[in-house]
């Protein structure tokens, strides 16, 4: 059984905007799935339909075999949602918010309080549990929404840009938390603009653009299609002119840092010879970390994503 089955899903809003044009995709149980796409691609509409916040125009969505359209209540009992926008009562306190949310899933206050403490502690928010939530920082508010989404211990956790605006340290601790949840069997669907995050965490990926799925594969296969590698090179002296080498594309980052992109089949010796001939001494070299971002941008630039 799939955790999520979306079949030929279409959504046209009242203003005529066609947000989804027949989206179909399946997410395996236990998967860590990335749903990527540029702004306005239809990601949030798709998530809205899965979580029943948006009505469909046509098509079906099933969560663990239960149709969201036919058996909404049962389907919703499997889902935990962390939305993109803050959507909790800012006058309430974190503990109160989470315990109330649990109540909507039929969880008693006693059990909910224990679970709320567990998740607030795991997300390093327990010391704020009794403070008005409007006083929390942006990162804390996002973590509060994750704790709230976990209180019903969902089988499918949907995270819509959960780390937007969160500093790298907190972001990494959130990754650990979400990875642990996935390791314990929860299926996770993640949308993010930090493609490094998707590459780090997700096993399968769908890319959506203009309301259509343009890529749906596993992360390894997708990254394998990237035949160009980019290296970042630190040069001893300020660079005045970039060398010209066949198959290698150079880009200046700053006066002593350059990027070199070359096909995987091209020997690195070619690169170093060219740099040596141009009188550039390389102090250090590293692989540009975010391969997925590179691929994503190439797809967009080449107009593959129509």
């Amino acid at each position: 059984m799939y955790a999520l089955e979306v079949s030929n899903l279409k959504k046209t809003y009242a203003n005529g905007v066609e947000a989804l044009k027949g989206v179909s995709l399946n997410v395996e149980e236990g998967d860590f799935f990335a749903l990527l796409g540029p702004n306005g691609a239809g990601k949030s509409t798709l998530i809205g339909i899965i979580s029943s916040l948006v009505n469909t125009s046509s098509g079906d969505v099933s969560v663990f075999g239960t149709s969201v359209q036919q058996q909404r209540s049962k389907a919703m009992s499997h889902i935990g949602l962390v939305p993109q926008e803050l959507n909790f009562n800012q006058f309430e306190r974190p503990l109160e918010i989470i315990v109330n949310q649990a109540g909507y899933y039929g969880i008693s206050r006693k059990v909910a309080t224990v679970r709320a403490e567990k998740y607030l502690r795991q997300l390093q928010l327990w010391e704020k549990h009794d403070k008005p939530s409007r006083l929390l920082s942006g990162g804390m508010k996002r973590r509060l929404m994750i704790a709230r989404a976990m209180v019903n211990e969902p089988r499918l956790l949907i995270l819509d840009e959960p780390t937007a605006g969160v500093d790298i340290e907190i972001r990494r601790s959130m990754w650990e938390f979400i990875r642990e949840i996935n390791d314990n069997g929860t299926t996770v669907i993640l949308t993010t603009h930090y493609l490094e995050e998707a590459e780090e965490l997700c096993r399968n990926i769908a890319i959506i653009d203009h309301g259509e799925i343009v890529q749906n594969t596993d992360m390894k296969s997708l990254l394998a299609t990237l035949d160009i590698e980019t290296f970042v090179l630190d040069i001893r002296d300020p660079v005045t002119a970039l060398p010209e080498v066949e198959d290698v594309e150079f880009k200046m980052r700053d006066e002593t840092t350059i990027e070199a992109s070359l096909p995987k089949r091209t020997s690195l010796n070619v690169l170093f010879s060219a740099l040596d001939s141009a009188g550039m001494q390389v102090l250090s070299m590293r692989n540009k970390a975010n391969r997925l971002e590179e691929l994503f941008l190439r797809l967009v630039e080449k107009g593959t994503m129509t």
């Binding site: 979580s51 109330n100 899933y105 969880i107 008693s108």
Partner: protein, 257 residues
């Protein structure tokens, strides 16, 4: 969904609503208490002494049921419309919309919250009235049933208003231009027998007249209208509004895109 989930969900909504009412007690309970005290002092005491008897009671006694009912109507409606629209505006209504709770549980929870505020305010106004006059309750069951039904009807009317409202101005229009005039013209301060015949005939189309008189009958034992009509009208409005609320929640109008 199981009855246990629905029951726990219902209790949670009520708990959340009552907590909200008590947290902002200075906005929810105190203002009607002050307003009604002024009504008792000015209309009941100062002006009422010159008016004399009405319906066989002194004027202060006559307006007690009307003022209690007026504050219950305003509070029940106001609680629903401000709480539900606030949740919609702040998007935390989504906490409920993504939950497994069926729409009737959401409606029942919010209506009970509004009922709780209506009863709290009604009780406070009743206690205040004891500082000005004494009344002997004639039909306690009628008094309580009319009060509860009225509160439920106006709570549901408040939900319809909140669902269609897009901005805070929209939740002030109905109370200002419809609810307040109908309440003032609904026999709170006078018996319709004092009105010219034409206005008596117009008044019978005002549903609040039946609610106020039904409640007055419960307390004082006198009414301008047949009490059976009061129950019938509240029943019909109750069914119509409950159906409307459930339909709107089901379609997600104003709530789901």
């Amino acid at each position: 969904m199981s009855a246990r989930v629905n029951w726990t969900g219902y209790k949670t909504i009520v708990h959340k609503e009552v907590t909200r009412i008590l947290r902002i007690w200075a906005q929810t309970v105190v203002p009607p208490a002050i307003t009604m005290t002024l009504y008792f002092v000015i209309f009941g005491n100062l002006i009422g002494r010159r008016i004399g008897d009405m319906g066989g009671f002194d004027y202060m006694q006559f307006i007690v049921p009307g003022l209690i009912m007026m504050s219950v109507i305003t509070s029940s409606y106001g609680n629903m419309v401000s709480s539900f629209f606030g949740a919609k505006f702040g998007r935390h209504i989504e906490e409920l919309l993504i939950s497994p709770l069926p729409n009737w549980v959401i409606l029942a929870g919010y209506v009970t919250g509004a009922l709780a505020r209506g009863m709290m305010v009604g009780l406070v106004v009743m206690i205040i009235s004891l500082f000005f006059t004494r009344v002997e309750i004639q039909h306690p069951l009628i008094m309580v049933s009319v009060l509860l039904m009225t509160s439920i009807v106006f709570a549901m009317a408040g939900m319809v208003n909140a669902i269609f409202a897009n901005k805070f101005d929209d939740i002030a229009i109905v109370p200002t231009f419809i609810l307040t005039p109908l309440t003032y013209l609904g026999g709170v301060f006078y018996s319709i027998s004092l009105l010219p015949e034409f206005w008596q005939k117009v008044s019978v189309f005002n549903p609040i007249l039946y609610m106020v008189n039904g409640f007055r009958y419960g307390i004082l034992g006198v009414s301008d209208v047949d009490i059976t009509y009061a129950y019938a009208i509240m029943g019909v409005f109750g069914i119509l509004l409950a159906s409307t609320c459930l339909y709107l929640l089901h379609r997600g109008i104003g709530l789901r895109s």
